[in-house]
Amino acid sequence: MAVTLKINGTPHEVDVDGDIPLLWVLRDILGMTGTKFGCGQALCGACTVHVDGQPVRSCQTPVDSVGDSAVTTIEAIGQTPQGATLQKAWLELEVVQCGYCQSGQIMSAAALLRDTPKPTDDDIDAAMSGNVCRCGTYQRIRAAIHKAAA
């Protein structure tokens, strides 16, 4: 099935079965490997992208559910005000360890800050508990979100 997907403002035509998760279109067909594969079951958040600004797990988002919605990935989130301040805060506080989960973390955090400019710790818990970090950078993630929100 041929579909045109709007990714980071650019249309891309791909030819895949409709039930193929968006994650594989991004990574393997379009070569956009910033979005990561972690579990395939929407349990870890490494694959988080925005669809019309809302955070979704692209590993469980079939291509035929995207339609002409705007997809935003980590490669472009830095062009949004929230994405840019988060990336800056992430580097100022040296959040990153191995880094594999951080694309998903930043995508979830960007959606949080856009909807809740001054999140409480409870807001952060709710928005970020779907993003797993095995290196345990949570303390600095929380601090960086507060810093970006300040």
Binding site: V16, D17, D19, I20, L23, W24, V25, R27, D28, I29, G31, M32, T33, G34, T35, K36, F37, G38, C39, G40, Q41, L43, C44, A46, T73, I74, E75, G78, Q87, W90, L91, E94, V95, V96, Q97, C98, G99, Y100, C101, Q102, S103, I106, I124, D125, A126, M128, S129, G130, N131, V132, C133, R134, C135, G136, T137, Y138, Q139, R140, I141, R142
Partner: protein, 721 residues
């Protein structure tokens, strides 16, 4: 720096020399995975050793011997080189080292291996020497050009200057390359008080690419014509594929090929979505093989039985048997820790291109030369024909010390034309891990009338990883790792006996898990000493202090952690504090955990205070990060971690059944680093080993109930039980 974009030299243009200039410019523009491995000695340009290359434009390339898995080692090792080389961290680009034990072996290990928290300890001197030698020759070249004494010159930030004139390293590269290199041991190194880089918090060089999606992990490899493959390995450990519905798999759009190896089935496709769909359609049936009845119950029963008989002595001081029987009070305890999976965020993967005379692999590995060796073996080629491109690792934790995934990928790739990226699903990753062993420990101790320990015996039963991985570490029946931090606890025991009983679980592969021996032994030793303190009716911190008089650095971190944690100050009902102290990986660490146990038995860790004495620090920010991350890694296992077996299969599959810690559960870790001029110790695994006992001792303080088996069973802590 981070992207390797080099700055033009003062003359404002790139010299596109024959091979090197043009070659290097091309190199800079390519993503790391596509950069060709450049030989250490170039036709021109300056490469005084395996770690440093400087081209005519002054671009400084540092080849890093260790693997970066989030522990900040790329930056820390770059700091060691840059300090003596006299360049700023913003003037260097980094390269993954190719497989070469002769050039890149960690001196402490004797192989090119990143693990055991040994990287700084092993490379502390050699990398500084390498930088110093390189700088010495650059200064000598400038001195020769100006006709002055080298001692009148100063090297700073990539230039050599006499106070008035200066020459950039690029301008000196050719001349320096022509000079004979001094013996590294003969070059004086800086006094630590003169460090300008080492010991100061530095921004890591790999992190900018990790916040914008440009950093490349092994799983991100992209090559022209590359296919991707989903792989299924027998659900019963050691089984083999029996039937595969190849036609059904091939009917899936995007699927190109179905590959069968001895122990796996791989579906090769244009993208992983099609590959996974094809693998499901293939409906693989398995021949279960000899391990179809393996169960955790049987494994634990075997440990219980075999640990009843004495093991091989790892330590025997005094006469523990006699003092135990004569003691005023005797304690006995059995401790158990479960099999654990690593669950790195980046699932196992390996990209391989096998051709008639060559094998090229793209992977994230802690062991490049082992990777090369196993690929050569499976491909049936000499190792000189095998190229390994290492990458940033999306988590190691010891998992990537093993090359089983690489072997499986090469076996698949042999049957595929062109490069193929083999990616494990999370389920395969968890169910075909190599697990931290289940250990079953028997303790006895005797106390005198004052409550002091007069006898201590500790028998450890479990798998020997050393016997398989590093036979030199399995001497006379003792696995050095299985008894690490148990045979040499920090306390002065006059009468101590430690024994090891090797018991191998049928069919279950075992391997290194972050913190290795100490993660198991610090938990059990610090828990049992806590039991002695309770039996002696003494404060757990004071009890330990009395046994650490001979060990000032251990005493130092214990005192610091207790002080910062407010040890002794009252806590609300249901809350308690617990402590642990250790010497492991060359460093001293003490942790105090504050936990709350609810009526339903659930445990909430509110706070962890961590005191670290790791000697001289390279990047203090990394020390703090490793204390935080290492503690959380261990804490996840204490609360949730267990791999269990039933009917020969791993019962856990994904993050719904092997639970990770999430941000809403994570406590704050407060880190206090002791300023020290002692030789650097390791930090990557240190906090992981320390956390378990601190938490379970805190549970005891809160409830009066002793946890002797991990993970914590909340049923045991219910108010009603």
């Amino acid at each position: 720096m981070p992207d390797g974009i080099h700055t033009l030299d003062r003359r404002g243009f790139l010299k596109v020399g024959a091979a090197v200039g043009g070659g290097l410019a091309l190199t800079v523009a390519l993503p790391p995975s596509l950069r060709p491995a450049l030989a250490a000695a170039e036709a021109s340009g300056y490469a005084p050793n395996a770690f440093i290359r400087i081209d005519r434009q002054g671009l400084v390339t540092l080849v890093i011997p260790s693997a970066e898995m989030g522990q900040g080692i790329y930056t820390a090792e770059a700091m060691l080189l840059a300090e003596e080389l006299e360049v700023g961290l913003d003037q260097v680009r980094l390269e993954h080292s190719p497989p070469d034990d002769a050039l890149y072996a960690n001196p402490l290990i004797g192989a090119q291996l990143t693990g055991g928290s040994t990287s700084i300890r092993g490379f502390w001197t050699p990398l500084r020497q390498a930088g110093a030698v390189a700088r010495t020759l650059l200064v000598a070249a400038a001195a020769k050009q100006w006709g002055v004494d080298p001692s009148t010159l100063k090297a700073q930030l990539g230039k050599v200057t006499d106070g008035k004139r200066s020459l950039g390293y690029g301008e000196l590269a050719d001349a320096a390359a022509a000079l004979p290199a001094p013996d590294p041991k003969s070059v004086a190194l800086k006094d630590p008080k003169d460090f300008t880089i080492i010991g100061k918090p530095a921004k890591r060089l790999d992190t900018p690419g990790k916040v914008n999606g440009t950093a490349e992990f092994g799983i991100d490899t992209k090559l022209p014509g590359m296919k991707v493959a989903a792989i299924a390995i027998s659900p019963v450990l050691g089984g083999k594929p029996k039937t595969v519905d190849e036609a059904a798999a091939m009917a899936v759009k995007g699927v190109r090929q179905v590959v069968r190896t001895d122990e796996a089935v791989a579906v090769v496709a244009d993208h992983l979505g099609a590959a996974k769909k094809g693998l499901e359609a293939a409906a693989v049936q398995w021949d279960d093989g000899p391990n179809a009845h393996v169960s955790s119950a049987d494994i634990v029963h075997a440990l219980e039985e075999e640990s009843k008989t004495p093991g091989v002595i790892a330590r025997n001081d005094g006469d523990p048997g006699k003092t135990l029987s004569g003691a005023a009070q005797r304690l006995d305890a059995i401790y158990q820790v479960p099999f654990l999976a690593h669950a790195t965020m980046e699932p196992m993967n390996c990209t391989v291109h096998v051709q008639k005379d060559s094998c090229e692999i793209w992977v994230g590995t802690q062991v490049p030369t082992m990777a090369q060796a196993v690929a050569a073996q499976v491909a049936g080629l000499p190792k000189e024909k095998v190229q390994v491109h290492n990458h940033l690792l999306g988590g190691g934790f010891g998992r990537r010390l093993e090359v089983d995934g690489i072997a499986r990928a090469v076996a698949v790739a042999k049957q595929v034309d062109g490069p193929v990226k083999v990616v494990y699903s999370r389920e395969e990753d968890i169910q075909h891990d190599m697990y931290r062993p289940y250990y079953y420990d028997r303790f006895s101790a005797g106390l005198d009338a004052e409550g002091r320990p007069v006898a201590w015996t500790h028998r450890i039963a479990g798998s020997s990883i050393m016997a398989r991985y590093f036979p030199a570490g399995f001497k006379d029946g003792v696995d050095a790792d299985a008894v690490e931090a148990a045979a040499e606890p920090p306390y002065a025991f006059e009468n101590i006996r430690v024994e090891y009983v090797r018991v191998e679980p049928q069919g279950v592969p075992t391997s290194w898990w972050r913190g290795v021996g100490p993660t198991h032994n610090v938990f059990v030793v610090e828990s049992f000493i806590d039991e002695l303190a309770a039996a002696a009716k003494q404060d757990p911190v004071e009890y330990r202090k009395a046994l650490l008089g001979h060990n000032p650095r251990a005493l130092g971190v214990l005192t610091l952690a207790a002080e910062k944690a407010g040890w002794g100050q009252p806590l609300p009902k249901g809350r308690g504090r617990g402590v642990s102290v250790q010497f492991a990986f060359g460093s001293y660490v003490s942790q105090v955990a504050e936990v709350e146990v609810a009526a339903d038995g659930s445990v909430k860790v509110h706070r962890i205070v961590c005191a670290v004495d790791c000697g001289l620090t390279v990047n203090p920010d990394t020390i703090e990060a490793q204390a935080q991350g290492g503690a959380l890694f261990g804490l996840t296992a204490v609360l949730h971690g267990a791999i269990t077996f039933q009917n020969g299969r791993v019962e856990q599959a994904n993050f719904d059944t092997y639970l990770p810690m999430r941000i809403d559960e994570a406590p704050v870790i407060e880190t206090h680093i002791v300023k020290s001029s002692e030789a650097p110790g390791g930090i990557g695994e240190t906090a992981t080993a320390a956390v378990s006992a601190a938490v379970t001792n805190a549970v005891f303080a809160a409830t009066g109930k002793r946890i002797r088996t991990l993970p914590i069973d909340t049923d045991l802590l219910k108010s009603s039980s």
